[in-house]
Subunit: 352 residues, 2 copies
């Protein structure tokens, strides 16, 4: 571990320097606060997401690089869900004393690799050593042209409901990692190595795709921005806590209900269709986008975006609640059963 704060700050400054030039940055890690500029005529987006050991990640299942990647991806996905462009990140990191310096280094490498790819620069944060669990909080500041942010509250009866990709893959990936881990011999190898070994031994897609979706989710910032620019979507949310939960939030904010067609929801394609559907409905952390499109705006929406199909999975209705139409035509009421921090505070025991 680093011996002094100065040593840590110097190391992080060197690591955080981006490959290119950062336009708006005036001052970075090392002063009292970060100082940045935004483009004129933009609104500022601010979002913060925690990643807590044993709640959002498990040290023996998640390699340090993936913990860093996932911690930033959660906030980037929130910016995507506003139709904005992420610009700056601040990372607060309370590192468990039990972790080695190597873990911190790998954590930041994972986080910064994603940040650089999305044009996001690390401009500050806070750090402490703690006796207990590792705790991470990532703040991302982004921008969106004035009046162009896409909110949860704009859905209207008759709008089509779309998702931007296959759902339930992350939850399946976690299940695979956990079941593989359960079979692993003790003493367990290093987390990162275990993960690579685990991945190598897993059957090929969809298993590898699922594990990758869980460890290294790809925020859909370009799509969010596209939907905002085109004026195509009436409401937008990211799928961080599961379709059933996040769609409920969108409907509640918009004062509407929804009808979903189970057969149209793109799941992880398991042989057991009920299992696939369950993962797609309630599995969280896919970080795909869920958005609604008014009938007259449908021509603005392409069939695919960046090579990935956009799936219509249902439509908004005036009557509150979510109705799920099963392949046999029966209709069931769908309750939010995804991630709720007040109901399911522990990673173990959820979503599998």
């Amino acid at each position: 571990m680093f011996r002094t704060e100065n040593e840590f700050v110097a190391w992080l400054q060197a690591l955080a320097a981006p490959p290119g030039h950062a336009g708006g940055l005036k001052l970075s890690i090392g002063d009292d606060a970060a100082l940045v500029t935004l483009k004129g005529r933009c609104e500022l987006i601010l979002t913060t997401d925690m990643s807590i050991e044993d709640v959002h990640f498990i040290h023996r299942l998640h390699p340090a690089e993936a913990v860093g990647h996932r911690a930033l991806a959660r906030s980037l996905s929130d910016v995507a869900a506003m139709g904005g462009v992420p610009r700056y990140a601040l990372v607060s990191l309370a590192i468990s004393k039990q972790l080695k310096r190597d873990w911190t280094s790998r954590f930041f490498r994972g986080l910064l690799a994603l940040g650089h790819r999305f044009g996001v620069q690390l401009v500050g944060g806070d750090t402490a050593l703690v006796p207990g669990r590792t705790f991470i909080d990532v703040l991302v500041a982004g921008e969106v042209p004035r009046g162009k942010a896409l909110l949860r509250s704009g859905a209207r009866a008759g709008d089509a409901i779309f998702v931007s990709g296959r759902l339930g893959l992350s939850a399946l990936g976690l299940r695979l990692l956990r079941s593989h881990k359960a079979r692993a011999l003790s003493p367990p190898p290093e987390a990162g190595r275990l993960d690579r070994q685990a991945q190598a031994k897993l059957p090929q897609p969809p298993a590898r795709e699922a594990v990758n979706a869980h460890l290294y989710p790809e925020p859909r910032c370009a799509l969010g921005r596209f939907l905002s620019k085109r004026g195509a979507a009436s409401a937008l949310i990211d799928l961080s806590d599961g379709l059933s939960t996040d769609l409920s939030r969108l409907c509640e904010a918009s004062g509407v209900g929804a009808r979903l067609w189970a057969g149209k929801i793109p799941g992880p394609l398991l042989p057991d269709q009920a299992d696939s559907l369950g993962l797609a409905l309630h599995g969280g952390e896919d970080h795909q986008l869920l958005f609604t499109v008014a009938p007259q705006k449908r021509p603005r929406l392409p069939l695919k975006f960046q090579g990935q199909p956009l799936y219509q999975i249902g439509e908004i209705e005036a009557a509150r609640g979510i109705r799920l139409v099963l392949p046999d035509g029966k209709v069931r009421t769908l309750k939010p059963a995804g991630w709720d921090y007040f109901k399911a505070p522990q990673l173990d025991g959820r979503r599998t």
Copy 2:
């Protein structure tokens, strides 16, 4: 505790609604991210500070209101140290399962009372229940007119060094709280009640003043802004980790050294002068401002600000390192001995 996230968000939205109107706020708690606007021609200040149970506060010593107040005060003080105006706050809160709903409510009341007084609105955050320690991370976004931010790096040889108030009071307050607690009967009463009882039993100033300075520090935002507007200060930092540590940081950033006059440093006025000086030099969390003033700018600086004297405690020199001139004329080298997260990760054992 709250049963669902919705319940918590609704409660927090009601609580966070400010008494007045929030000019720049477009969208608050409840969407994917906060959306805010800044004044034109301003730069954005971003700062984040963690408050961790058993590191930054102790449940039995610090009432929930004080934990909330102190958590926000740390970030407000960072904005003050840039000469900026704080505008928005995001709070990430991982609440220990052992705490009751009442604690969370009191925590936010303490935080919001300070926020409202400083015109800062709570616009978002993240929340989780955790099995271990309570963890808080507060992000504050502020603004400063373009080019007007006061950095740590502007001090030059010959500049006078000022502090904005008495130092070491917070460390003394913590010591008093702790020694009183050590004498308290078991079982201990509620933290908040203990604190009020403890305060009532303590002798009058400076003890009460010290306990209050520790529990409810007052960020010096108005002074920071004044120094920026007047162009009076060449460098500015807030005293969060102790004079010896924070002055070292300012000197390092500016590439200079300093000479301090021990007899001029305003300490907590204890009968034991060496003890007073030690607290003033190394005690943290006073959140006063430390700033440097070039000789030709001295006329821009008033003797007092908001009724509180500004103390010149030394001067910047070209030679690196900090030299402390004792009352008997002897000169000692002063090493940073304040708060360093990498050296002193535990609240117990430091600063007393």
